[in-house]
């Protein structure tokens, strides 16, 4: 049966001639793949590309819900306004410090926790569960809780900070323009450490044990083992998680919005909270889109730089 079927097909191909064969080749290699891909292409186009294009086009228009008759294309006017906007530059600087301190503290605390969890000690399972808990708490709730913790009337933190000599008297740092940003950063670090701990722990556990044994026999000290074996093995994971988290934190305004609302005096305004305020408080969608496009470009530049570094770093 089998062999007869094969023979029949062979005859078919021969009979139908060359043009047919060529057309089927074209069909098979050029058109057919896209037919299979079409569901994802349509989906990506509908949920990602279209909104992106519409959003970018908004940034070249004047769309203010409060002045509905003033709508229309205005070229780079939004961007020119942005260049002269002092609030934008403050927000940009705040975004940088917010992202930098959040990611740095999250990463190093997360790495430390992961290394701790990669050893054996009594009560490790319970500790592990506790470490991963913040991840499960809704952002809104943790923001409120942290806001309370910083309130000297009901929270202990100002008193502790005073006792440690960091504050001169127990007051709410969320109300101090110089220190307010540290409130959301503290909350964000607490919230984001589990992510790094989980991912880095997974990466640590995938390092073969005989690497460490070989290094031990070669005479490496604990620090040498860490820098020469552990870090190179973690590098790919570090690069990708730091990149993802940076982009996410730069866009992550929930904590700030709930804890300080961008105040006092814009001292905790970051770009994404500024976008939010511009779009949904002042209802100026054109200007908000222009800010969003700038943020998008900055993050893309960052991602490209990090990916290049990753390629240089990662040999395995």
């Amino acid at each position: 049966m089998e062999s007869r079927a094969v023979i029949t097909r062979k005859q078919n191909t021969v009979e139908r001639g060359e043009t047919r064969a060529r057309r089927s080749l074209y069909w098979q290699y050029v058109v057919e793949p896209f037919v299979y891909l079409s569901p994802s292409i349509i989906l990506i186009g509908a949920v990602m590309l279209m909104p992106l294009i519409i959003g970018i086009s908004y940034s070249f228009q004047s769309i203010e819900l409060l002045r509905p008759f003033n709508t229309g294309w205005i070229g780079f006017e939004n961007y020119a306004k942005l260049w002269a906007d002092r609030k934008f530059w403050i927000a940009l600087e705040n975004t940088f410090w917010w992202t930098f301190w959040s990611i740095t503290l999250q990463f190093f605390l997360g790495l430390g926790l992961a290394m701790l969890l990669n050893t054996h000690f009594f009560g490790k399972k319970l500790f592990q569960a506790l470490v991963f808990l913040p991840w499960a708490v809704p952002t809104f709730l943790s923001a409120l809780t942290w806001a309370w913790l910083f309130n000297p009337v009901i929270g202990p933190l100002p008193h502790w900070l005073t006792a440690l000599g960091i504050l001169s008297e127990p007051y709410n740092i969320l109300g101090d323009p110089d220190l307010a940003l540290w409130g959301p950063i503290a909350a964000n670090v607490w919230f984001g450490v589990p992510f790094f701990a989980i991912t880095l722990l997974a990466a640590l556990q995938s390092i073969p044990g005989d690497m460490y044994e070989a290094a031990e026999i070669d005479g490496a000290s604990a620090w040498q083992t860490f820098t020469k074996i552990t870090l190179p093995f973690l590098a790919p994971m570090i690069a990708i998680t730091v990149m993802l988290r940076t982009i996410w934190i730069a866009n992550f305004a929930d904590l700030i919005y709930v804890m300080t609302g961008g105040g006092p005096a814009n001292s905790t305004q970051i770009i994404s909270s500024y976008i939010f305020t511009t779009a949904f408080r002042r209802l100026d969608f054109g200007y908000a889109s222009a800010i969003a496009v700038v943020l998008l470009i900055l993050l893309m530049i960052y991602a490209v730089i990090l990916l290049v570094i990753r390629k240089k770093l990662v040999k395995v």
Binding site: P208, D210, M211, E213, A214, A215, E216, I217, D218, G219, A220, S221, Q224, K228, I229, P232, F233, K315, V316
Partner: protein, 359 residues
Amino acid sequence: MARIELKNIAKSYGTVEVLRNIDLDIQDGEFVVLVGPSGCGKSTLLRMIAGLEPITSGAFEIDGKRMNDVRPRDRDIAMVFQSYALYPHMDVARNMGFSMEIRRDAAEMRKSRVAEAGKTLGLSKLLRRLPKELSGGQRQRVAMGRAIIRDPRAFLFDEPLSNLDAALRVEMRLEIARLHQKLKATMIYVTHDQVEALTLADRIVVLDSGDIQQVGSPLDLYERPANKFVAQFIGSPTMNVVPVSAASGGVILADGTFLALPHLDDTGLAVELGIRPEHIDVVDPDADALAAVADVVEHLGSDTNIYALVEGLGPIMVRVHGNIPAKPGDRLGLRIQAPNAHVFSADGRTLQRDMTGAA
């Protein structure tokens, strides 16, 4: 260079005793091979010597100094892992020079030592490659290079050739033998492979389920196995063992044949007879010998293996040098070379001239 002494070493994981009563005195420059079935504790013993596993009890000494609690890095012992354990993110040169990098030796010195070791092992052209860009045999050589570059007091090998194909294994075996001759360092080598053990070793240590069964030169183990386990473990194909009953001056086989064993003083405790396949002669079927029928015949070119069924005795394997024209179903006469026969007592001990007095 080092003399390594193990004195009454034992190892337990929790309540599971993996090794016990390990007494071994390894001379400076000696090549000692540990053999034994899977799970008998060879790797564990090696790892204890390297310092990767704590020693439960007993004393471990290098050159007379107790080393039980000395860290691996301070024991000055190099180890070649079965998995090679090359650092995947470092090129061959850095892999080999890693111990020198750790010691912060001068870069030129490191470079020249790496180049020298690379030349010895035929890796000169590959120094800039990453381990993933090497073949299995090349990786194995890098692992050896990493060990020799340190010029350690002793080398440990844990089944270093088991991941290689047969031809490469022979080549690397010679390489290791050459290395030992050149470096004259103490080497301890774990293997499953009898041929490796018999060809490389000055002395072989046979382990079984956590006990040392016998220590001796390859020839010793082959000619004078201490017990049935060693007798059957060493030598390929495996020694035939058949039940016998004791008689004065010899033993009586199950088919009633009397086999005189004048080289043994006392066979009174004998319950089994061991005879290696190469110590049985094939003679004319009508001669005064054991009557057998060939069941399977393997022609290896240099040798012929015959799996024969002996009347009243069961299957016996015979190895004949050269190519003989035997076919399955042929009638054969088998004659045991009595001076090469071993007899075992009920508890598996070999009854020998020097041992019978004590037994």
